[in-house]
C-alpha cells in the first residue's frame, strides 16, 4: 500500500513540531530539576560548602537507581504516575513527563561532574571574601562551569531526540510515532528515510547550537 504524499507531508511537519516540542520542554524542565539536583549533590559532598551526608547519599542512591533503567522500560514503569500527573498516558505531554524525570537525573550527573572540575581554590577565594553558600552557587559555581555545562546539555539534548522517538512508539506522538505506524507497520521505506533524515538534521542543529554557545562562553 502506497503512502499518499499530499496528506503525508503535513503529517510529517506536525510530527516534527511535536518532537521539537517534546525535546525543548523536556530540556527546560529537565534542566531546572537536573541542575538543582546536580548542585545539591555537589554542595552537600564531604568538605563542601553545605556538607550534608544524608542528602548527598539519598540523592546519589536515587540517581544510581533510576539512571541504569532503559528508557523504554522506565516509560512504561512510571505510566501510572504519568496518568496521575498529566491525566493521560497518550500524546506529547504524556511523553514529556517521563522524559523530564529521566533527563533530570542524567543532567544532574553532568552538572555534578562539571562542578567537581572547578578549582576548589576559586570557591575558597569567594568564601574568604565573605560570600554565603547561596551566593557562591549563583555567582561562582554556575558561571565558572557554564561553558562545559552547555556542552553537557547538548549531549543530553541529542539523547532526548532518541528518547522522544521511543516515547513516540508507545503513543507519545512525534516522528517516532510516524516511523512506527508508516515505516514499521506498513513497511514503507521512503517514510523511514524521510524521518531518519529529519532526525539527523535535528541532531546536527542541536549540536551546532550547543557548540556555538559553549565556544562563546569559553572564549575559544
Amino acid at each position: 500500500m502506497k503512502v499518499d504524499w499530499s496528506t503525508f507531508w503535513p503529517r510529517i511537519v506536525e510530527s516534527t513540531g511535536e518532537t521539537i516540542l517534546m525535546v525543548i520542554m523536556t530540556l527546560i524542565f529537565g534542566s531546572i530539576l537536573g541542575i538543582t539536583i546536580g548542585l545539591l549533590l555537589f554542595v552537600t559532598r564531604t568538605g563542601n560548602i553545605l556538607e550534608n551526608k544524608i542528602v548527598f547519599t539519598l540523592l546519589n542512591i536515587l540517581i544510581n537507581i533510576i539512571r541504569p533503567i532503559p528508557f523504554i522500560i522506565f516509560l512504561v514503569a512510571i505510566s501510572p504516575l504519568t496518568r496521575a500527573v498529566v491525566g493521560t498516558t497518550i500524546g506529547t505531554w504524556a511523553a514529556i513527563f517521563p522524559m523530564t524525570i529521566a533527563a533530570s537525573f542524567g543532567i544532574a550527573r553532568v552538572v555534578e561532574n562539571n562542578l567537581v572540575s572547578i578549582d576548589s581554590g576559586v570557591i575558597e577565594a569567594a568564601k574568604a571574601m565573605g560570600a554565603s553558600p547561596l551566593r557562591i552557587i549563583f555567582t561562582v559555581l554556575i558561571p565558572e562551569a557554564l561553558g562545559p555545562l552547555i556542552l553537557g546539555l547538548t549531549f543530553v539534548t541529542v539523547s532526548l531526540i532518541d528518547f522522544s522517538a521511543m516515547a513516540g512508539t508507545v503513543g507519545g506522538g512525534g516522528l517516532g510515532h510516524v516511523a512506527m505506524t508508516y515505516g514499521y507497520q506498513r513497511f514503507d521505506g521512503s517514510v523511514m528515510l524521510v524521518t531518519v533524515i529529519i532526525l539527523i538534521v535535528l541532531v546536527q542543529i542541536a549540536q551546532w547550537i550547543g557548540n556555538t554557545l559553549s565556544r562563546k562562553i569559553m572564549r575559544r
Partner: protein
C-alpha cells in the same frame, strides 16, 4: 591586631589524626608585616586559614581587632572575612570574569552601588598598575599580573588586614620582587597589617618586620627579622638563613687559603651601628696585627647593617689574643673550624 592564644588544630582523616597546628601563641601588631616561615607541611596554611575561619580551631582562642572570633555568628563571620583580604599561591581568580569583574566581585558582595564600584575598581587598577588590563580575562595574564589582580581584589573592600598564603611561591624571582614591593606599598601607603606565610627566607628578609618559624605545627622561634637573622637559635632557622646568605667560602677557596699557610679562621659578626664603624682596622692597628679578610658580606636588614666576615690574623700570638679579646667587647667573634666545610 591578630592574636593567637594556645591555638591547636587537629585534622581527623578516618581514624588517623594530624596535629597541623600545635599550641601556637602569637601576636601580630597593627601596621606590621609579620612573616611565618616553615618547610612544607609545617602547618603554616592551616594557621593562616584560622584567621578568617576558613578552618575552625580545635582549641584555643583567636582575637582579631580585639574580638574573639570563636563566638561569631555565621553572618558575623562573613563580615569578619570581608574585613580581611586574602591572596593565594595560585591566585584563585574567577576565570569567568574579567579583571575588572574579579575586582568588583567583593564590592558586589558588600552591596556597594554600581557607580561606586566602577570608581573603586579603576582606583584599584591604577594602584596595582593594571589599568590597561581591565577588560582582559585572567587566562590572558602573566603570573605576576594575576597576583596583582588578586591583590586588588583583596583590597577592594578596604580591609585593614591582608593575609597571604605563599603569594610569591608560583612566581619567578623578578616577578616575586615586583609583588613584594607592591605588598610593601600596601603596608606603607594604606597602613594595612600583613600576615604572610612562605617557605622562602628571602621573602622574610625583604619585607617582614617580624618573623615566626614553624615546624611540626609549632612556633619554634619568633622575633624581629633582624634578631632572628643575626642570632638564630634553632637549627631549622639556621638552615633557612643559610639559604639566603652564603656565609662560608667554598671548600676549594678554603683549601687554597690553607695552602698559603692559613691556620686559624675567625667569624666576626657586626650588627647595627657597629657595622659602619671601622672597629676591625682600629683594633688590629693598635696591636700591630694584620687582618686578612677571607670571605664576607655586609647586608641590610630592616634598615640596619649586618656584617658577617671570615678573617684570619697575621702577627705575634699574644697580640692576636689581645686583638680577639678587645674585639669581643664590640662584636661577636668565634673561631671557625676550617675542616667543617
Amino acid at each position: 591586631m591578630i592574636e593567637f592564644r594556645n591555638i591547636s588544630k587537629t585534622f581527623k582523616i578516618g581514624n588517623r589524626e594530624v596535629n597541623a597546628v600545635n599550641n601556637v601563641s602569637l601576636s601580630i601588631e597593627q601596621g606590621e608585616i609579620f612573616g611565618i616561615i616553615g618547610f612544607s607541611g609545617a602547618g603554616k596554611s592551616t594557621l593562616l586559614r584560622l584567621v578568617n575561619l576558613l578552618e575552625n580551631p580545635t582549641s584555643g582562642e583567636i582575637h582579631v581587632k580585639g574580638v574573639n572570633i570563636g563566638s561569631l555568628s555565621q553572618k558575623e563571620v562573613r563580615k569578619l572575612r570581608s574585613g580581611i583580604g586574602m591572596i593565594f599561591q595560585n591566585f584563585n581568580l574567577f576565570g569567568s570574569r574579567t579583571v575588572a569583574g574579579n575586582i568588583a566581585y567583593p564590592l558586589k558582595l558588600a552591596g556597594v552601588p554600581k557607580k561606586e564600584i566602577n570608581e573603586r575598581v579603576n582606583e584599584l587598577l591604577s594602584f596595582v598598575g593594571l589599568t590597561d588590563k581591565a577588560k582582559d580575562f585572567p587566562e590572558q595574564l602573566s603570573g605576576g599580573q594575576k597576583q596583582r589582580v588578586g591583590i586588588a581584589r583583596a583590597l577592594a573592600t578596604s580591609p585593614d588586614i591582608l593575609i597571604c598564603d605563599e603569594a610569591t611561591s608560583a612566581l619567578d624571582p623578578d616577578t616575586t620582587g615586583e609583588i613584594l614591593r607592591l605588598l610593601k606599598k600596601v603596608n606603607k601607603e594604606l597602613g594595612i597589617t600583613i600576615l604572610l606565610i612562605t617557605h622562602e627566607m628571602h621573602v622574610i628578609q625583604e619585607i617582614c618586620d617580624r618573623v615566626a618559624v614553624m615546624e611540626n605545627g609549632e612556633v619554634i622561634e619568633s622575633d624581629s627579622v633582624f634578631n632572628v637573622f643575626t642570632n638564630p637559635t634553632h637549627l631549622t632557622t639556621q638552615r633557612f638563613i643559610q639559604s639566603v646568605q652564603q656565609d662560608r667560602p667554598s671548600a676549594t677557596l678554603l683549601e687554597e687559603w690553607r695552602k698559603k699557610g692559613g691556620k686559624h679562621l675567625y667569624r666576626v659578626i657586626f650588627k647595627g651601628e657597629i657595622a659602619s664603624d671601622p672597629v676591625l682596622s682600629r683594633v688590629t692597628r693598635k696591636f700591630d696585627v694584620d687582618v686578612n679578610i677571607v670571605y664576607g658580606s655586609v647586608r641590610e636588614l630592616q634598615e640596619k647593617l649586618y656584617g658577617n666576615l671570615l678573617v684570619s690574623f697575621v702577627g705575634q700570638e699574644e697580640n692576636i689574643s689581645s686583638v680577639l679579646s678587645e674585639l669581643k667587647q664590640d662584636v661577636t667573634v668565634e673561631e671557625v673550624k676550617v675542616n667543617e666545610g
